[in-house]
């Protein structure tokens, strides 16, 4: 594993040499440190972790973990905090290109394929084994296997929730938006009522949330983005019956935007703010932000915010109930202290640290162990925020959806997992396709062809 071989046309530039040198120095340090009897990791280099949790609360918590870990294991941890999103990717790539890769990075299931396909991630099977020894079995659906090895140590997860205001729905005698039909009826009724509310925030944007929303909506009609043919992963958007299903979703998008504020440039922030701010009555989200923000902003509808899964086309009941996505840690090739990094990851995702970390996420991201959802578990016991703000139906509803076979990560469209789901997601082409047929004025078939073509050109899919 690691750096690609020096095949024809491949030029090992300074940056690559630096990576190899760093790896060599790391190895040499490891050997020397072993001789000199240094800490458990066998390297005198600090573990370098680039964290995408940069709020003051998370900084304090993670620094606390690092200090305790250092005291306990005599391994120094150097944490650099960077904003989640584009800034994080830029920083990681800067370090990799500069020949100074970090030991640990944060990664989501949808993003990890981009790293894995570049052969820059170390296997983490031994870390997962160690975690399972200390905690319980890590469900397979939260991992990411590439080239026969696990590449992600999951910590928490999130599932597709369709949050809706039950106060409005009940008042207007509407059914919860579980299916396309119910969702449309409710959205129309709420938008047309004299209550300054839109039925939903139907996003058609070329953003991260736009990608998420588009992919989730496609799954609501059992339409797939990718299909595997042996070792090849193909773009499936424009193929056969799948194309018809994509077309149905896009036709529906053209209707649904009528019941939404203009959401052509919305990202995660806009979707939960529109819900918590009282502009929309329904919001599809990966995780709990629409509810947690409503709680945080002390909105009257915070308690009345209920969840159902991704609305599906009831004439196509094979449809998925949405995306389930783990987020966790990955180890980067060529870094200076991989053994220390493994120990630190294991330290972070076990015991009271994981409880503290999961609680800090305020039930937006949720645990990956089913037993944690039981009343009386270490996670729930004595946690007033959860007990005061979330009813049992919502907690167990999220649990069921997360562990159900009807929710999967976007990578699971193919077996083995689709490593190109990540560049497909971040290319924003799915959101762009939705935009093209709603605000962009493009014909649906042209939009499908355009999206499929761009995905073939840019993602590694055929």
């Amino acid at each position: 594993m690691g750096e690609s071989p020096n095949t024809d046309g491949s030029t090992p530039h300074l940056s690559r040499r630096a990576v190899v040198a760093a790896a060599g120095v790391g190895g040499l340090s490891t050997g020397l440190a072993g001789c000199l009897g240094l800490g458990g990791s066998g390297s005198s280099e600090p573990v370098k972790y680039i964290s995408n949790n940069n709020s003051p609360q998370f900084k304090e918590m993670l620094r606390g973990f690092a200090e305790d870990f250092e005291e306990e294991r005599d391994i120094e941890v150097d944490i650099e905090f960077t904003e989640i999103g584009g800034d994080y990717g830029q920083r990681v790539s800067q370090l990799i290109q500069g020949g100074n890769p970090p030991d640990i990075i944060n990664a989501e299931q949808f993003r990890i394929g981009a790293y894995a396909t570049q052969d820059i991630l170390r296997p983490v099977d031994d870390v997962i084994d160690a975690v399972e020894e200390e905690e319980e079995e890590v469900p397979e659906k939260f991992g990411f296997v590439y080239d026969g090895s696990n590449r992600l140590v999951p910590a928490v997860a999130s599932v597709t929730n369709n949050w809706y205001r039950s106060d409005i729905y009940d008042e207007m005698g509407l059914e919860p938006p579980t299916t396309w039909e119910r969702e449309r009826e409710a959205a129309q009724a709420i938008t047309e009522a004299d209550n300054d509310l839109y039925g939903l925030g139907y996003t058609t944007s070329a953003t991260v949330y736009g990608s998420y929303h588009a992919w989730t909506r496609l799954w609501g009609n059992d339409a797939k983005v990718a299909a595997r043919d042996g070792d090849t992963v193909n773009v499936a958007l424009d193929s056969g019956q799948n194309r018809d299903r994509v077309r149905e979703v896009l036709e529906r998008a053209q209707q649904m935007v009528e019941y939404s504020p203009t959401a052509t440039n919305w990202d995660w922030g806009e979707i939960y703010e529109s819900y918590a701010g009282g502009t929309t009555a329904t919001a599809i989200y990966s995780g709990g932000r629409p509810k947690t923000q409503s709680i945080g902003q002390d909105r009257p509808w915070a308690d009345a915010t209920k969840r159902v899964s991704n609305p599906y086309n009831s004439s196509n009941r094979n449809a998925s109930l949405g995306n389930s996505a783990a987020t966790g840690y990955a180890l980067v090739q060529g870094s200076a202290n991989p053994e220390g990094a493994k120990e630190f990851i294991q330290y972070m995702v076990t015991g009271e640290r994981l409880v503290e970390y999961a609680r800090a996420l305020r039930f937006h991201n949720i645990p990956i162990y089913e037993s944690w959802y039981e009343p009386g578990s270490a996670y729930r016991d004595g946690w007033d925020y959860l007990n005061d703000n979330f009813d049992e139906e919502t907690i167990q509803g999220e649990r069921q959806a997360l562990f159900s076979d009807e929710t999967q990560p976007f990578t699971a469209e193919t077996e083995p997992a689709n490593p190109y789901a990540s560049p497909a997601f971040t290319s924003f082409q799915l959101g762009q396709m939705f935009y093209d047929v709603t605000e962009g004025g493009m014909n649906i078939d042209d939009a499908i062809d355009e999206a499929a073509s761009v995905l073939r050109d840019n993602t590694g899919m055929e």
Binding site: E3, S4, G9, S10, T11, P12, H13, S15, R16, A18, V19, G86, G89, Q90, V92, S93, I96, Q97, G99, A114, Y115, Q118, D119, I120, S205, A206, T207, P261, T262, A263, T264, N265, W266, D267, E273, S274, G277, T279, P423, T426, S427, F428, Q432, Y435, D436, E439, G440, V454, N458, T459
Partner: protein, 320 residues
């Protein structure tokens, strides 16, 4: 001071002192050596922070390089041709032209108008000039963020005011509609830089002798005729310089567009710099992104030639 200076001088050996004097005299008397001494630090810095990264980027554009992998694979100059002929690049280039020229047109109109306004003598004119120049000190990031909040369809003050005064019935997502997004970004991104035009124009306006206007008045010229025949001929070259220079700077503008729209809705405001960013960090193709940047550099270099040939900025600052 002189006592200290004398003591320090006394400590330095006389021969060394004489030798230093000879060397310095030699430098100051020889124009070429003086030029070399003065320019070398600046040139070294320029090479280090501008030329080398540029060469590095040009070199990078000839390789297939993933953002997430430090291995470079040779592709050659054919890659630049592929980029040049790709639909995405051409569309982004077109949007860059619209954004660049549109922004500059706005900046010239607003900047020159503001300069004419604050050039008048009135009570508080000095304060008015200082206030007019303030926006130039506000960082583009702050302007982008504030602009985004103010234009928000749900809680933005601009929609609120327009609805209150009856211009709009419903809020408009200025940054979310294909019809309004580009124009909105141009306006928000331009008002700060209009002040640059104001600065240049005002300096030129204040150098026009007052007796020119007095003469025109005696000849019976009205305000428009004075502007047309006295003011405009004297500021037109400054306007041309400002226009060409600002086009150069607006064409590669990234921050304000990225903050306000991230290139959306759809790709309506995805100009060349944003396209390069997307290719690098969303499609993980650093080599292609460098190729896009290299082509943008070529365009801007050509535009610079136009700037120096047409505007002849050296004549504007030449001391008689």
């Amino acid at each position: 001071m002189s006592v200290v200076s004398d003591r320090v001088t006394a400590l330095v050996p006389t021969r060394w002192w004489q030798r230093s004097n000879e060397i310095l005299s030699g430098v100051f008397e020889d124009d070429r050596r003086l030029l070399a001494v003065c320019l070398t630090p600046a040139l070294a810095l320029y090479v280090l922070v501008a030329i080398l990264p540029m060469l590095w980027a040009f070199n990078l554009s000839l390789y297939e390089v993933s953002t997430l992998n430090p291995v470079w694979e040779w592709t050659g100059p054919g890659r630049l041709v592929d980029i040049l002929t790709s639909g995405a690049f051409q569309a982004a280039f077109g949007r860059s032209l619209i954004f660049g020229f549109g922004s500059v047109a706005f900046q010239i109109v607003v900047g020159v108008s503001l300069a004419l306004l604050v050039n008048r003598e009135f009570k508080g004119a000095v304060l008015a000039r200082a206030v007019a120049l303030l926006p130039y000190m506000v960082p583009a990031v702050a302007i982008g963020m504030v602009g985004q909040f103010m234009l928000n369809a749900q809680y933005g003050i601009i929609n609120l005011v327009l609805i209150r005064v009856g211009i709009l019935n419903n809020p408009v997502a200025f940054l979310g509609l294909p019809e309004t997004a580009m124009a909105t970004v141009m306006v928000v991104g331009s008002w700060k830089f209009a002040v640059f035009v104001t600065l240049l124009t005002l300096a030129r306006l204040q150098s026009i002798p007052e007796n020119f206007y007095e003469g025109a008045t005696m000849c019976g010229a009205n305000a428009y005729q004075k502007f047309r025949d006295v003011t405009l001929p004297r500021i037109k070259n400054v306007i041309l310089i400002a226009a060409l220079l600002r086009t150069l700077w607006m064409f590669n503008k990234f921050d304000i567009i990225y903050i306000m729209t991230r290139g959306g809705p759809g790709e309506e405001t995805t100009t060349i710099p944003l396209h390069a960013y997307e290719v690098a960090f969303n499609q993980y193709d650093l080599g292609q992104a460098a190729g896009i940047a290299a082509l943008m550099f070529v365009f801007l270099a050509l535009w610079s030639i136009v700037y120096f040939r047409v505007a002849r900025p050296e004549e504007e600052v030449r001391v008689a």
